[in-house]
Symmetry: C2
Amino acid sequence: MALISPSRRLRRTAFSEGVEAQGVKAYTVYNRMLLPTVFESIEADYHHLKNNVQIWDVSCERQVELRGPDAAKLMQMLTPRDLRAMMVGQCYYVPIVDETGGMLNDPVAVKLAEDRWWISIADSDLLYWVKGVANGWRLDVLVDEPDVSPLAIQGPKADDLVERVFGESIRNIKFFRYGVYQFEGRDLVVARSGYSKQGGFEIYVEGSDICMPLWNRLFEAGEDLNVRAGCPNLIERIEGGLLSYGNDMTDDNTPHECGLGRFCNTHTAIGCIGRDALLRVANEGPVKQIRAIEIGGDAVPGCDRVWPVFAGGKRVGHLTSAAWSPEFKTNVAIGMVRMTHWDAGTKLEVETPDGMRPALVKDKFWI
Amino acid sequence: MALISPSRRLRRTAFSEGVEAQGVKAYTVYNRMLLPTVFESIEADYHHLKNNVQIWDVSCERQVELRGPDAAKLMQMLTPRDLRAMMVGQCYYVPIVDETGGMLNDPVAVKLAEDRWWISIADSDLLYWVKGVANGWRLDVLVDEPDVSPLAIQGPKADDLVERVFGESIRNIKFFRYGVYQFEGRDLVVARSGYSKQGGFEIYVEGSDICMPLWNRLFEAGEDLNVRAGCPNLIERIEGGLLSYGNDMTDDNTPHECGLGRFCNTHTAIGCIGRDALLRVANEGPVKQIRAIEIGGDAVPGCDRVWPVFAGGKRVGHLTSAAWSPEFKTNVAIGMVRMTHWDAGTKLEVETPDGMRPALVKDKFWI
């Protein structure tokens, strides 16, 4: 791992003080903000996440807020997912596409009111696209980045922890729904969601001033639950098939290539900017697609670039995320493979920094 | 300095191999791409830059390409700088503003033809804003990120080095003008520009495949010039008053606050999206503005967050970039100060991580 130079441009978060006190060992940069990647070690963090409860500073999931009479119209322009049935209190995973159907981000939309939405973004300045669209189409809507810092509580004991701070009723929140809970007299949106398969919540902390008080309150409340600071875990998210925008897909890819066709209602999502471009791919299907891939041999090195994938000496795709899984005793990976070679059981070869290795297309991720 | 975790999302460049071979010691992340920050040490790199010639991998200055009948119209919509007199062969520093006059980026526009422009961007996804505007206003223009990797040649011996590779005529290129030169049979735009005050060129290398051949050719040609790999130098750029988007200004700031009023022709830049919002600030002037600030005491620590500035116990601004200058034997800094306290000679106090220090408003940067 290389060193990263400090600068204001790589923004600290309202939880950074707490993250540092918990001994963060490495970061990535996400939306020009510091996102922890390692506390004890990726493997130790992984085991802890699967057995306990962790508190994650995911402030880098910045919000794009849409407010005004045209907010819902604008939201539908951004995504091929049909939003007509979405109710206040729901969160939707929404691929965002440009006029060519290329993915610009894969955020979670939070419907706060008919005329007020948050878009909880992955790593790209979606704010700029939304502002440009709103300006060009002269929509009656305000678009900005509010002072909201998401804090994730993830792991099998997440319910136990949040109950102690927000009360028993929080257990009743269903998956991808949210409730509004109080902390220090302030209303906070708390959703059952998060970037792991271990279950848990995301607290949308509005107001930087209450971030550290909430952080400290959660750690106090969870002492006997063995609560620790954590972060999205590379191994666990690959096992679970959780895609990472910028790693596993870019604006070169359609949602269908990313296996997100089920979130595209191209026939009914009227008004979506990329709808026309996606109609054909929706009908005929993509020619390459995301797959779970197993890589043979010992633990692979860090995947910091595209690893080409071959079959019979011919390039048929690439891998973009890979890690050794202690639980499944193999290297788990995410890749994009051409349809000629994407069937489960297909044998491939992958070019890693330490040489060619055998690889295998799996029928599903490790869940 | 913290460690940074490897991932494809933090993109390597077509020069990364060369940068690593030259012993890069630290990076920053800029437009989700690796930008070197240190080779020998910030101070050793600084002295070398001021006396020799360096080759900088600034691939992270991604290009937004505008192509088509409406390209020039779109370019003028983006900036309050009047572009009517700009000719093919020129580069303009152009503040980019949204409809409120807030700065979205401060790139260099390169006019390749009446209907073809590159925008060489600072650290934000300007591509998204430009694509959104083009879509919303239904302009007849293609907007995308081409495979162009800028390589900067900076330092007093820059002319000597580029002459050896591109021929004597390259010495005639004027500041912020470019010429087209051949390398391995390909046309490359070479401009006299760059993010230092030591003079030099930026080569817009089109095609990743010729990046390393050009890198190697330049190092071979410059052996007796003591050429080294380098990067934008924190100390030198603060001394020279070169602003950094995301550090010294954000979308909260108008160009006028950043001292960029001279690039805003709000009365004649017809069509600029932020023109109306900037008219009043252009007439009355901003209430706070960027200033060169000297900080007393020993070398300051790295500035990774806003440092508040006070006068008589009252907050009057903040600093956002600071470093010890070996040449001027003081801490040089860039800050934003309210008009009540921005006159040269005004004494201030700045809150640094190791305590309050005296500070002084300078009449100009250290150039």
